[in-house]
Amino acid sequence: MTVSAAWYLTLAAAMFSIGAIGLLVRRNVLVMFMCVELMLNAANLTFVTFARELNDVGGQAVVFFVLVVAAAEVVVGLGIIVAIYRRRLGATADDIHVLKG
C-alpha cells in the first residue's frame, strides 16, 4: 500500500502550478512548451491517483488519450517554431545565404 492519495494530488497540484507559472514567466517558447508538458503530466498523475482511489479504470484510459494529444501538440508546436525560425532566417541573417542553396 503506497502513501495516501492526498500526497499524490498535492504533488500533482504543485507540478501543475510550477508548469503554469513557468509558462507565464518564461520568454523562451521551447521552455514554454516544456511547461505545458509539465502541466499535462500533473493532470495525468491526478488521473492515475483518482483511478487508484476510485478503483476505476477510466482514469488510466484517459491518461492514454492525453499522451496522444501531447504528442500531436508537440509535433505541431515544434513545427510552428521551426517555420517561424525559417522565416526569420530568411529575413535577418543575410550572411548565411549559402546554406539555403
Binding site: M1, S4, I21, V31, V48, R52, L54, V68
Partner: protein, 243 residues
C-alpha cells in the same frame, strides 16, 4: 508526517518521497534553467519521476508508455529542435509578452497554492464510485484491464485519436514545407527597409527575376520601385506624409 505512516509501508513511502523530490526538483529545473537543453534534461528527470509514481499506483502500462513515448520520443523531439535551431539561436526565439502576464502568474500561483492546501488536507472525498469498470480485477494484469476499457467504454475516443495523428502529420508537412518561391530576396520582412537601403539594390534585385516572380512586397512597396525609376521624385511619399 502522520499521513505518510498511516497506511503506507516503509519502502513505498521512501519510493514516493524520492520520486516526488525528483518531480519537484525537475519541474523547478525546467522553469529555472537558463539553457533550453538543461530544461529538456530536467523535463526527462521529471517524467521519470512521474513514471515511478505510476508504477507505485499500479499503472504499469502507463509507466512504460510514459518512458517510451514521453522521454523517448517527445523530449528527443524537443532536443532535436533545439539542436536544429542552434543552441544560441533557440534562446532568441521569444514570444511576445502579454500584458499583465506576471500578475496573472502571481494570481494563478496563489490560486493553486490554495488548492494544494485544500488537497493536502485530504478533504476531497465526495463519495464518488467507479463507473467505467474496476481497476483491480483479481489476477487480471493492468494491461488487460486497460486494453478492454479502451476497446469498449472508450472506443470512440480511441478511434478519433487517429484524426489527431493525421492532423499532426499534415501539420508537420505544411509547416515544414518551403514556400514555392524563394523567400530570401523577394520577401524583405520590413517593407520600409527596402526603401531605406536605396533604389539601386531594388533594381539589382529585380534583374535576375522575371516579372512573374516578383514578390508581393515589390508591388506594395511601390514607392521604393518608383524611386528607382528616373524622372520620378524619390521622396514624394515622405513629403506627402509630412504635409
Amino acid at each position: 508526517m502522520h499521513l505518510f505512516l498511516a497506511s503506507a509501508t516503509l519502502p513505498d513511502t521512501i519510493t514516493f518521497a524520492i520520486a516526488a523530490a525528483i518531480c519537484i526538483v525537475g519541474s523547478l529545473g525546467v522553469v529555472v534553467s537558463t539553457h533550453p537543453v538543461h530544461s529538456a534534461l530536467m523535463l526527462v528527470m521529471t517524467l521519470f519521476g512521474v513514471a515511478v509514481l505510476f508504477v507505485e499506483e499500479n499503472a504499469q502500462f502507463l509507466a512504460a508508455v510514459q518512458v517510451i513515448v514521453y522521454a523517448g520520443a517527445i523530449v528527443v523531439l524537443f532536443l532535436f529542435v533545439i539542436m536544429l535551431l542552434g543552441v544560441d539561436r533557440a534562446e532568441s526565439i521569444a514570444a511576445d509578452p502579454l500584458r499583465g502576464q506576471r500578475l496573472t502568474a502571481l494570481l494563478l500561483g496563489l490560486l493553486v497554492l490554495a488548492e494544494v492546501v485544500l488537497l493536502g488536507r485530504g478533504r476531497w472525498p465526495t463519495g464518488a464510485h467507479s463507473t467505467a469498470g474496476a481497476l483491480n480485477q483479481g489476477t487480471k494484469p493492468n494491461v488487460n484491464v486497460l486494453g478492454t476499457s479502451i476497446f469498449t467504454t472508450f472506443l470512440l475516443p480511441f478511434e478519433i485519436t487517429s484524426a489527431l495523428l493525421v492532423i499532426a502529420i499534415v501539420g508537420a508537412v505544411v509547416l515544414a514545407r518551403r514556400p514555392r518561391r524563394p523567400v530570401g530576396g523577394a520577401s524583405s520582412p520590413i517593407p520600409s527597409a527596402k526603401g531605406l537601403t536605396g533604389p539601386p539594390e531594388a533594381e539589382g534585385d529585380d534583374t535576375d527575376r522575371g516579372p512573374l516572380q516578383m514578390g508581393v512586397e515589390d508591388l506594395e512597396d511601390s514607392d521604393g520601385l518608383e524611386a528607382g525609376r528616373p524622372g520620378v521624385p524619390a521622396t514624394h511619399g515622405q513629403e506627402g506624409s509630412k504635409s
